[in-house]
Amino acid sequence: MLRIPCPFCGLRDHAEFDYEGDATVTYPPLDAPEDAWFEAVFLRENPRGRHREYWRHTQGCGAYLIVERDVTTHEIFGAELAHPGMASAMEGAA
């Protein structure tokens, strides 16, 4: 069981979360050409080692997190809120 430190809810089992894909992909604007969208939707790097990935705390607060995880060892280095506004609000609250 991976253990993910949700900034809202604390350290939780990964069973409470949904994996939501690569967090390093930058999606183009809606009116961008097909090629740009093709790349964003279909093409993925699969590097060994550390990944930044989205996890949604579905069975908890519902927030989208960016989790840094080593895909070889499953070590988790940390998690932050994906929404920059929410992330800075959390920092202000802390």
Partner: protein
């Protein structure tokens, strides 16, 4: 001679005799016995039968590694097969049976397989199916059925499990696995530092090897040492006997299974049989001990051949001597104390040490009455139903022997060395490291917060194990900041004076006889060499080909021997040959424990709409739709489902019908940028939707394929009420959250799922307006004031009060219709009030079956059509897409495959012959040209009261290619084919005149 109970000794309670049954025969053991020790004390020697050859087997160990005494316990629904007699706690009334044998383990007709041995060598099944051995495949298939019946494990009960199980989520600072000297000391040290400690052990008694120890702990009597430690731990740590830590997982999480009712003769039904405890620990100490290996020699599976430590454990822990004349066999110093213990218990013991050099321990052993023979090895055992004789030979080195003499013995107790239990660390992908010096795998290094102590780390001496455990406990406390001292140096591996002689197999020229490596799966040394000759060089391939280590003990005894033999055959060292990988579970875990309470109806939640009880009271038959129970149809006396649905459809078309639509997904979309968000996710425009209006919208996935549809109502400038399909409610919510939280983070919008907050009905039919205008008088229901797609809020009169309602003029049926929602708690009132008024007007309730028929008649699509493969154009909705704005999926929806001319597109279907029927899922083929893929498929069908049997489907090129032409609905599963005509999907009122005005 057979085993017998000693007058004194051991930790069994001779004051508490327990009656039990073996193959129906009444026997008596004592509290503290295992089934194996009680059977041994009762003189039983043959307990099991081998898997392939059906050879009689006896008790081979005193623990989880058992490969011989595998039995079936209990009867009826509570029958459990493949149980190790060596770990089964004896309780009064326990009933056990031998398995793999007919009629009994003592007389078994299946033993003929032993004579057919040449057919059962490694890879038997592969060869059989490849036709190498036999005449024709068919004959061999028949033969194989017979062999399968004869070769196999016990049979599980076919009845539902009457017991219940629970799952507990738990946390602790330190989890200590194993309650031997190392585990006890680790737990004590950590508890002293104030840590929350769980100490779990698979045995029903705590103490590990100390329960029947061969020698003292340092100078202390082991029983005294143990009771002092247990008294100190009681209350200070969470002691969990009968609890197996079966797996270690990511995040320092361990899977434990507690056998709650084990040891109880008549457990209360309030108790779960087992409890799965998922422990999130901060650190773990593995004090899992070591397992003694046997040696492969001729017929080393005969009843009476066991490990040396097991023989000593039966004598010292259970007070049972396995035999009177015992040949103790050792390759290491550890065997001496065990031989002495057996001699002290009254056996006549000869110790064969494979090493020629006079051992320093020999003198003391001889003083205790043990005959020591240096350089002696076992060659061949005799006595199919119980050992009678052992051929002993001189060790020529490397396991080769020259037979010298036959000794009359009734037990051969063998120590081929010890294997530290590295299994749990192996679950964490930590490779064990081979030690030539100790002839075993030692635990490898890990970066995780896991410590290994005691015999699991290759420490053989009890006092050193205790010191090793204490060091691990202190190291854990220090790492967790609970203790600030200096951790003492832990004793390293070993504890023997003279080095071990790595003997895995004893062979002598011209001496036949099977030499078993894995007795439970009947894998012999010849099987391993055969696998090597046939090219299985990788140890992983060898294991799969021979099935070594694949029985319920998972190779706890045999893996290292197999690896050593493979290394020898291929001329490589053991580390070069490979390693041994263990995966969870450590010992078998019942499916019931893993499922916990999630079985039967509790396998998944059941969702009921807020008005479910009221709908049921109206006479609904329900159907499962995902997690939901939905009103399916409302039969009148004597009506079938089809008759009721046809009546309900006709009622909606001629009068008025009421249907529960509470299952629709509902999302509150709020904020200054709410309209902008909707405008980006729907293919059609939402930016200019006026307040008080609703719009039908379709969403695409970002890859351009259609995703979901529904209506969204504008309640104010900044607030929308979005509805989604029942099936996609969660997925749409997730998509909006993902977009808002990760991509369009500048949009000032908040979305909340309000699906469970509202109950709703659709009221459809020519009399719908008349019904609603009376019930909700504060809304102007005239066509001019409340046009098609209008949204109005008001109050529905209930008695002297009113409930708030949110309404919209929408039609899924093609009739004049409204959806009416109310806060969930008012749902039953809404249903009862509207239904009563509809009935007064000559209408009534309708269900999902009629709803589906009404929409098929109109050619409306649902999830059967929006199935994740179809595009907007395929669905006939291409005109909805805005050209004025981009939207999610617009960039990729024009990829070549998605705009291909002859893609299957939506068509209407009806049979050519009157009264003919066809099924959804059928393949559409050209007449006379039935091919696997055809030119399309049938997605939905309906039994329309006005139009007969009709359907929707997809055909290559759509209506343009097929209108008026014929296709066959081929249904090969049901061996049916129906000739159809392709028509417009808008069967009923294509102009939409009925829903307007």
């Amino acid at each position: 001679m057979t085993g017998f109970r000693l007058d004194a000794g051991g930790v069994v309670d001779r004051e508490r005799p327990l009656k039990f049954f073996w193959d129906g025969k009444g026997m008596t053991g004592y509290a503290g016995d295992t089934l194996a020790s009680a059977l041994m004390a009762s003189g039983e020697r043959v307990i099991g039968r081998g898997f392939k050859y059906h050879r009689p087997r006896g008790v081979m160990s005193a623990g989880v590694e058992e490969g011989g005494a595998i039995v079936t316990v209990g009867a009826g629904a509570k029958r459990v097969a493949n149980v190790r007699a060596t770990t089964t706690e004896l309780v009064a009334g326990l009933s056990a049976h031998g398995q793999n044998a007919w009629p009994s383990v003592r007389f078994d007709l299946g033993r003929i397989n032993d004579q057919l041995g040449r057919f059962f060598a490694a890879g038997f099944y592969y060869k059989t199916f490849m036709g190498v051995l036999g005449t024709g495949t068919f004959e061999w298939m028949q033969f194989e059925k017979l062999i399968r019946r004869a070769a196999g494990m016990g049979r599980a009960s076919r009845e539902a499990d009457p017991d219940w199980y629970e799952v507990v989520n738990d946390h602790c600072d330190l989890l200590v696995v194993g309650a031997g000297p190392a585990g006890l000391e680790a737990a004590a040290a950590a508890a002293d530092a104030g840590l929350d400690v769980i100490l779990a052990d698979q045995d029903f008694a705590l103490g590990g090897d100390l329960l029947g120890a061969a020698g003292p702990v340092g100078r202390a009597n082991p029983a005294n040492w143990l009771s002092k430690r247990l008294a100190a731990l009681s209350g200070a740590v969470r002691l969990m006997p009968r609890t197996t830590v079966f797996g270690l997982y990511d995040g320092v999480v361990a899977g434990l299974v507690e056998r709650v009712t084990e040891g109880l003769a008549a457990p209360s039904p309030e108790l779960p049989r087992e409890r799965l405890r998922i422990v999130r620990a901060r650190r773990i100490v593995l004090a899992t001990g070591a397992i003694e290996r046997s040696i492969a020699f001729g017929d080393n599976d005969r009843p009476g051949v066991m490990t040396l430590a097991a023989a000593r454990t039966y004598a010292r822990r259970f007070g049972v001597l396995p035999g009177r004349r015992i040949a103790a066999v050792t390759t290491n110093d550890g065997g001496y104390a065990d031989a002495v213990a057996l001699a002290e218990a009254g056996a006549e013991v000869t110790l064969l040490d494979s090493r020629w050099a006079r051992n320093p321990l020999a003198e003391a052993a001889e003083k205790a009455g043990v005959t020591v023979r240096q350089g002696g090895v076992p060659v061949k055992a005799e006595g199919a139903f119980g050992l009678r004789r052992l051929w002993v030979g001189d060790h020529l080195g490397g396991g080769r022997a020259r037979p010298e003499e036959a000794c009359d013995v009734d037990v051969v107790a063998v120590s081929g060395g010890w294997s530290p239990v590295v299994n749990l660390l192996s679950h964490r992908k930590v490779k064990p490291v081979w030690s030539d010096h100790l002839a075993c795998f030692l635990p490898g290094e890990t970066t995780e917060p896991i410590h290994v102590a005691g015999a699991a780390a290759g420490v053989w001496d009890a006092e050193a194990c205790a010191a090793s455990g204490k060091a691990a406990g202190l190291a854990a406390a220090k790492a967790l900041g609970a203790w600030g001292g200096t951790v003492p140096n832990a004793p390293g591996p070993n504890g023997w004076e003279a080095p071990i002689d790595p003997v895995y197999e004893v062979s002598a020229e011209r001496w036949k006889g099977k030499r078993f490596v894995d007795p439970q799966h009947d894998v012999t040394t010849d099987d391993i060499r055969l696998a090597h000759r046939e090219g299985f060089v990788s140890v992983e391939h060898m294991k799969r080909y021979t099935t070594l280590g694949m029985a319920t003990d998972q190779g706890k005894v045999g893996n290292v021997i197999g690896l050593a033999l493979m290394a020898e055959a291929s001329g490589r060292s053991i580390p070069e040959t490979g390693t041994t990988t263990f995966r969870p579970p450590y010992t078998p875990v019942s499916m019931g424990a893993l499922a916990g309470p999630e079985r039967g109806a509790h396998w998944r939640p059941t969702r009921l709409t807020p008005m479910h009880e009221a709908v049921a009271a109206s006479g609904a038959a329900f159907v499962d739709a995902g997690l939901w129970k939905r009103g399916w149809y409302f039969p009148q006396p004597g009506e079938t489902m089809a008759e009721a649905a046809r009546r309900e459809v006709a009622m909606v078309r001629s009068s008025v019908g009421v249907v529960d639509v509470s299952t629709l997904g509902k999302i509150a979309v709020q904020g200054p940028d709410a309209a902008e968000l909707l405008n980006r996710v729907y293919v059609n425009g939402f930016a200019k939707l006026p307040v008080g209006k609703a719009r039908y919208g379709v969403m695409l996935r970002e890859d351009g394929v259609a995703f979901d549809d529904g209506t969204t109502w504008r309640l104010s400038e900044t607030e929308f009420f979005m509805t989604t399909t029942t099936a996609n409610a969660g997925e749409v919510m997730k998509l909006l959250e993902r977009l808002l939280q990760t991509r369009w983070t500048d949009l000032r919008v908040h979305v909340s799922s309000v699906s469970d907050g509202w109950g709703g009905v659709a009221v459809a039919g020519p009399k719908a307006r008349a019904v609603l205008s009376k019930l909700i008088p504060d809304i102007d229901w005239s066509d001019a004031a409340y046009p098609f797609m209008g949204v109005r809020e008001g109050g529905m009169k209930i008695g002297r009060g009113a409930i708030p309602v949110r309404t919209a003029r929408l039609s899924f049926s093609g009739e004049k219709a409204w959806e009416v929602f109310t806060p969930a708690d008012y749902g039953p009132h809404l249903w009862k009030t509207v239904l009563k008024a509809a009935e007064k007007a000559g209408g009534g309730a309708y269900g999902l079956e009629a709803l589906d028929c009404l929409r098929v008649e109109k050619g409306h699509v649902t999830a059967r059509e929006i199935d994740g493969r179809t595009t907007l154009e395929d669905l006939g909705l291409g005109k909805m897409a805005s050209r004025a704005k981009p939207y999610l999926g617009s960039a990729l929806k024009n990829r070549p495959e998605l705009v291909r001319e002859n893609r299957p597109r939506l068509v209407g279907l009806k049979p050519v012959a009157e009264g003919a029927r066809f099924r959804a899922g059928s393949i559409l083929c050209r007449p006379g040209e039935r091919s696997a893929h055809g030119v399309g498929w049938v997605s939905s069908i309906a039994d329309s009261p006005s139009l007969g049997w009709i359907g929707l489907g997809f055909a290559e090129g759509g209506l343009e290619a097929w209108e008026g032409a014929q296709l066959v609905a081929a249904d090969p599963v049901n061996d049916a084919a129906t000739l159809l005509e392709v028509v417009s999907p808008h069967f009923y009122d294509p102009s939409g005149s009925r829903m307007h005005g």
